[in-house]
């Protein structure tokens, strides 16, 4: 568990291995966010002790808003609520998130209320909290697969998430493995700018110099 539980940015790092493009994206995210003056709660999930969400709904009925299981899954909910921006970094896994990212994300249920209401033609659960956070999602795919069915599914998944999570601003990008450091940085900075991370342009300039050198 990381030592910065109240960072304004919660970076959920769902990598399964040390694939270089994802590592570059992670570095670019940290650099861009830090340059923008944001405190980054950088959480590498792999190997972290978070029990599978058992779907018991005790977080709705017995301990409202809190996961009944006391581990990092409970901490996840708190860190999510206290963030202003959430970033997902994940290998695109059959068009979805990695199991490592998902083991945390499944614990987002306590931020919802159990009730059902119709919104924009579909049934949804109301939010427990008034606060919302922006969402930035970066997925990595094998080389040549950025237009694949998996990549398209991934973008649809993020779009579906936004219907439930209601981020004021959100964006999603898919990076191909093997993409160079400079291109990764440009892409990541572009995504950061879309969710209003100030100072990205300056960070972009700094990063460019660093990479080219």
């Amino acid at each position: 568990m990381n030592a910065n539980p109240t960072g304004a940015v919660l970076l959920l790092d769902g990598r399964l291995d040390d694939e270089p493009t994802a590592a570059l994206a992670h570095e670019a995210l940290i650099d861009g966010l830090t340059a923008g003056g944001w405190a980054v709660d950088d959480w590498r999930l792999q190997g972290d002790k978070i029990a599978w969400c058992a779907g018991c709904f005790k977080c709705w009925t017995q301990t409202p808003g809190v996961c009944a299981h006391n581990d990092d899954g409970r901490a996840f909910t708190e860190r999510w609520v206290k963030s202003d921006l959430v970033v997902f970094l994940t290998p695109v896994t059959f068009g979805g998130y990695s199991s490592e990212l998902k083991k945390a994300l499944d614990h987002v249920i306590p931020i919802l209320l159990p009730f059902m209401q119709k919104r924009r033609g579909e049934t949804r659960h109301p939010q427990r909290y008034e606060s919302r956070r922006d969402l930035l999602v970066v997925g990595t795919v094998p080389a040549g697969r950025s237009e694949s069915a998996e990549a398209q599914t991934f973008k649809r998944l993020v779009q579906r998430n936004t219907l439930n999570m209601q981020p004021p601003r959100w964006t999603v990008g898919v990076l191909e493995e093997g993409t160079g450091a400079w291109e990764v940085r440009v892409a990541v900075n572009g995504l950061l700018a879309e969710v209003g991370v100030d100072g990205v342009l300056a960070a972009d300039g700094a990063g460019r110099e660093k990479v080219v050198a």
Binding site: G55, P64, V66, F94, K102, I109, R124
Partner: protein
Amino acid sequence: MKAPKQALLLVGSPKPGESTSESLGAYLLDELEKRGVKSQTLHVAKAVRSDESVAELRAAVAAADLVVFSFPLYVDSLPAPAIRVLELIAADHAAGVGADGAGDRAFVTICQSGFPEVDHNEVAMEICRNFARAAGFEWAGGLILPAGGMLGGQPLAKMKGMMRTAVKALDLSAEALAAGQPVPDEAIRLMAKPPIPKFGYRFMANWGWRSQFKKRGQAESLKVQPYA
């Protein structure tokens, strides 16, 4: 797709007790058994618990020529342990583990959620379809059950009246799958019908939650914001 001899039900619900996913999958498996297909059931949360359970999972997948994957919708997608199992199976396929049967195996999915609309589940179904392609399975179709809360983990055979369209959908699916055919469109259409009108379902669900809280004398704590 060939007529299967051995089916494997992978229950994608991490719930330790009775689950709606297991209820639906078990009914389909029973119907397949009646048609001469042998079956085995594994639960994803247990399957990824240890090296031994992963070995058992690998053996079961290798032995099956039809995998029935029944899971609940979690945050617009599959529950984490269900994804973990798919990652393992696909990695084995990529590494050539158990490659003997590759190409002759079919994958069929049942996805249910507490929402009365099927739209919520469609991305999860796409994910399963993408997995099937990546892991060398033939896609045998996917069924989506809306308003899964109506079943609430009860055995489907017990609930036949209210769940009659789901029963019919699974009967049609079993007949087709046992004959080496994909799930028929009619079964998909029937399964997608909510057991009761959407408005009524939402009303009943909200009433049910409120009653639970009232009974416990917790009505005031329902909307607490512990991390505000």
